[in-house]
């Protein structure tokens, strides 16, 4: 029996190793789960991108759930994500608020002219201070904020068709159940 002990130990290690590999295929190591989920979104008061005289606040967006999509003209993954924002995300029927993160307004406007503008309104966070409040660390990021201003879901990284089907649609379904 005690002769089998090393074999047993070895199998335990194999099991741990296999679990590690499996776990890494299920999780993105670079994703930090946001502590803000199911908490009220931080207050913000940011100028509109193409109309700096006007500002949008958290309070002004209350009353209806919306997506907040963090993008920038310098962000490479945003280009990959953008076609999906233009079509599938738009078709989900929620207002899409653009959060232009640490960007030059002219560069952002040119970028939108080139790739299309799916946003209902775009706020500009040039210094990235509101970004810190939202826990933004890697554009693109997308928040789903409910009618009461609570962050219900966050996607770190580009939205993909799988993310829409497996994460965003269920989150929307949960929202729809609460507000009949």
């Amino acid at each position: 029996m005690s002769r089998l002990l090393p074999l047993f130990g070895f199998l335990v290690l194999v099991g741990l190793f296999g679990f590690g590999i499996w776990w890494n295929t299920q999780h993105d190591q670079h994703e930090i789960v946001s502590p803000l989920i199911d908490k009220p979104a931080p207050a913000f008061d940011l100028p509109v991108l193409d109309d700096a005289g006007r500002t949008v606040t958290k309070a002004s967006l209350l009353g209806k759930p919306y997506f907040l999509n963090v993008f920038a003209s310098w962000c490479i993954e945003c280009v990959h994500e953008h076609p999906l924002l233009m079509t599938d995300v738009k078709q989900l029927g929620l207002p899409l608020v653009g959060f232009n993160y640490k960007d030059d307004p002219q560069a952002a406007t040119a970028w939108l002219a080139e790739h299309g503008n799916p946003f209902d309104v775009i706020v500009a966070d040039r210094e990235g201070r509101s970004g810190i409040d939202f826990g933004v660390y890697a554009a693109p990021e997308t928040f789903l904020i409910d009618a009461k201003g609570v962050i219900r879901y966050k996607r770190i990284g580009p939205i993909t068709p799988e993310v829409i089907d497996k994460e965003i649609r269920p989150a929307l379904a949960a929202l729809a159940k609460e507000t009949p």
């Binding site: 005690s2 002769r3 090393p6 190591q29 670079h30 930090i32 789960v33 946001s34 502590p35 803000l36 640490k102 210094e127 990235g128 201070r129 970004g131 810190i132 409040d133 939202f134 826990g135 933004v136 660390y137 890697a138």
Partner: protein, 146 residues
């Protein structure tokens, strides 16, 4: 002579890039700078996850250093600054997470493993000692019964 100057210039280039990588902050005094360095070395950059805020050159690390600096200037304590960052980026940003139920495994796991190993060794040694109390020479000549 000119060639040597060129070599010297090339040797100094890396120093230049290091100097540019992290923008200096206007500290009021040396103590404040030391405190800032200590604090930012304890905080982890969320973007490039194996670097501290002090070391990282990612844009978010730059912003967070500025945030930490401004909070220090505003008279916030280290704990308040850490809490601010944890609220936004989770405990991930702390290189030294606090001891609490969710981190017990992290803090005490290695000790528990060591204790389990110690118990296994102690049990084995006792069992063998009981099997051959007087016989000190190994039964197996190779001394290897695996």
């Amino acid at each position: 002579m000119r060639r040597w100057l060129l070599v010297l210039g090339l040797l100094l280039l890396p120093a230049l890039s290091v100097a540019q990588a992290i923008q200096p902050l206007p500290f009021r005094n040396h103590a404040e700078e030391v405190r800032f360095q200590q604090l930012s070395a304890e905080l982890r950059c969320p973007m490039c996850q194996n670097e501290t805020l002090a070391d990282s050159n990612a844009p978010i690390a730059h912003d967070l250093r500025r945030q930490v600096f401004e909070m220090m200037q505003a008279g916030k304590s280290d704990d308040e600054i850490k809490a601010f960052l944890v609220d936004r980026y989770s405990q991930f940003v702390l290189y030294k997470p606090p001891v609490e139920p969710s981190t017990w495994l992290l803090w005490f796991g290695p000790l528990a493993l060591l204790a389990i190993g110690g118990i296994v060794v102690a049990v084995q040694v006792r069992r063998r000692a009981r099997q051959s109390p007087a016989d000190t020479t190994p039964i197996n000549d190779t001394g290897d019964d695996w």
